[in-house]
Symmetry: C2
Subunit: 335 residues, 2 copies
DNA sequence: CTGTTAGCGCATTCAT
DNA sequence: ATGAATGCGCTAACAG
């Protein structure tokens, strides 16, 4: 039913090889026949079958993106960066959303067989050596975003540094009673960012000789609502914190909500700082740590395309900068 | 380099046909050989090449989703619905994000050649008859979401009804000075939802014998910031509205921001109602019109898969219900 | 039940 | 410069 390269060849009175050549802008074809063939292609509205091309080329012409909770604002922003460069390439974008460990394993496995994707971008998921081995032996280039592995190229942000900066910002304002709200220590996906940001906080505290009250460390499922509950718990303390550092903007929003519910003024009675600088952060005037999400997606594709072309196996490692964006949820403590 | 079906066949001492049969659970294989072949498949870690399968089956085994601004909260939610059912199917998900008319046209065209996708879901973009014709002649099933066409199956929400309900909610509260903030009348993509919601508003006003002040109709680029500016313009009026209906939650957020900037109390001095009920709406206690976004994605895939299997050309048309969710940004007008 | 073979639509030698 | 032939990896129809 669909028109094939043979139809074009016959109609133009040439061989399929010639048609293929004009299709691929191969210079080894006379201008005259090129014209003629092009006309026929146009007239027959012929489009080469991507699938046949792929089989013949032994390439899938598509790159896969493996994301956890691709509905989260930060992930969406990364995806947008990825899509923006893929759109201008010859590749198709295949999205795999994972929300359970089993789904993750399935995705890790299925992408590791040849002929599925020409390259893979993994966001925030830490692959095991075993997974990395499978990709390697299948010859599938992989670049990691917001996660890392010794033998894989990756784009990371300095979460420890970010946590440090956020805390330092608070300290310089005069806070010493600083609390932290983050993800559980052990998540199903072994996320590291919340942990690292907390680590950065601890270092900053230590560098400034501020003792950390263990009660000030609260963690729970990622999300606004859990964070709201944790904030209440913090505010219920005999000696409540004067500032709260949330491991993500989403969680910071929960803190804001809790403060509002108790009639606690932000930033006068309580300073709040988040992390990510998602779009809503600006709207809510949330002081937060900005990280280049869109850019991280962008760069990951660049790296991937590069490692697809070059067989250069240099496991590059880019660390993107972060900086705190001061808005109106942080201020000097009252007394 | 990759292990093929031939390798398996040779290793197992059978023909490729047999291997193919066990691969596809064809019953015409003795249990004994099935065992043996399976073992070899396992041992060689063989995975059939999807591309070769596709070429042979004359199916792409992938479905495309064409979305505008897939970073918008409402779109993300739809995508999530789509992905959730695709993940459990044999199909791959290819995402095409369009942010310019030319990119849209390119996508419309490229998906309309056979062998690109087995089916297509188009979100919020209104295809021209010409496009529809191309898909039809290429034999590509298409289902529309949040947009429609006489000859295509589509999932829509009752935007007019939603606009009507939102307005009625305001009217019942006692408002008569009701303004509207929406997208431009003519957008690059000819979006209809904002228009329809406004239409619903007009009908409600008319049914309640309330005259509409033309000055109360403001439209501008979609987004929080433009909406904020429009809200200020509204509030600058000699006879400012006591309630504002925004065509989307994002725009309602802009209105909230403007009110805050002027120290206008919401809902006491100004009622605000949005549309969509995105996640942030709940956080901000925004009264809004809820529409089943996730569900719309879900259903669209169901319809698509169905119209891929059945050659049943019944252009189904599902209209999903909407309802206003009353939270804390609407109240009786002051006087 | 199972092996063999002919496509699927295109890219690519290899001759010419 | 161009046509013919071969292969990409798999499915399905056809023999046996």
């Amino acid at each position: 039913m669909p028109v094939t390269i043979y139809d074009v060849a016959k109609e133009a009175g040439v061989g399929v090889g010639t048609v293929s050549r004009v299709l691929n802008n191969n210079p080894r074809v006379s201008n005259e026949t090129r014209q003629r063939v092009s006309q026929v292609i146009e007239r027959l509205n012929f489009h080469p079958s991507p699938i046949a091309q792929r089989l013949s080329l032994r390439k899938t012409l598509s790159i896969g993106v493996l994301a956890v909770y691709f509905t989260r604002p930060s992930v969406v922003e990364r995806l947008r960066g990825i899509e923006s460069v893929i759109a201008d390439s010859e590749y198709d974008l295949m999205v795999y959303n994972v929300e359970t460990p089993s789904r993750r394993d399935e995705c890790f496995r299925s992408t590791a067989s040849a002929n599925r994707v020409d390259g893979l971008i993994v966001i925030s998921l830490a692959p095991a050596d075993e997974d990395v081995g499978r990709w390697a032996s299948a010859g599938v280039p992989v670049v990691l975003v917001d996660t890392s592995h010794p033998t894989l190229p990756c784009i990371i942000v300095d979460d420890i540094g970010g946590g440090y900066s956020a805390t330092e910002h608070l300290i310089k304002l005069g806070h010493t009673n600083i609390a932290f709200i983050g993800d559980p220590i052990h998540t199903a996906f072994n996320f590291h960012s919340s942990r690292d940001r907390f680590e950065g906080m601890c270092r900053a505290l230590k560098d400034h000789n501020i003792a950390f009250n263990p009660e000030y460390h609260q963690s729970g499922e990622h999300g606004r609502e859990p964070a709201r509950l944790l904030a209440h718990r913090l505010l219920d303390l005999d000696d409540p914190p004067t500032a709260i550092f949330a491991a993500s903007d989403t969680q910071a929003f929960g803190v804001l909500q809790a403060a509002k519910e108790r009639g606690i003024q932000v930033p006068d009675e309580l300073s709040v700082i988040g992390y990510d600088d998602v779009e809503m952060a600006e709207f809510l005037n949330l002081t937060t740590v900005h990280q280049p999400l869109f850019d991280s997606g962008l760069r990951s594709v660049d790296m991937l395309l590069q490692s697809i072309d070059n067989t250069d196996p240099s496991p590059a490692r880019q660390q993107l900068p972060v900086h705190v964006v001061e808005r109106s949820t942080t201020a000097r403590p009252l007394n």
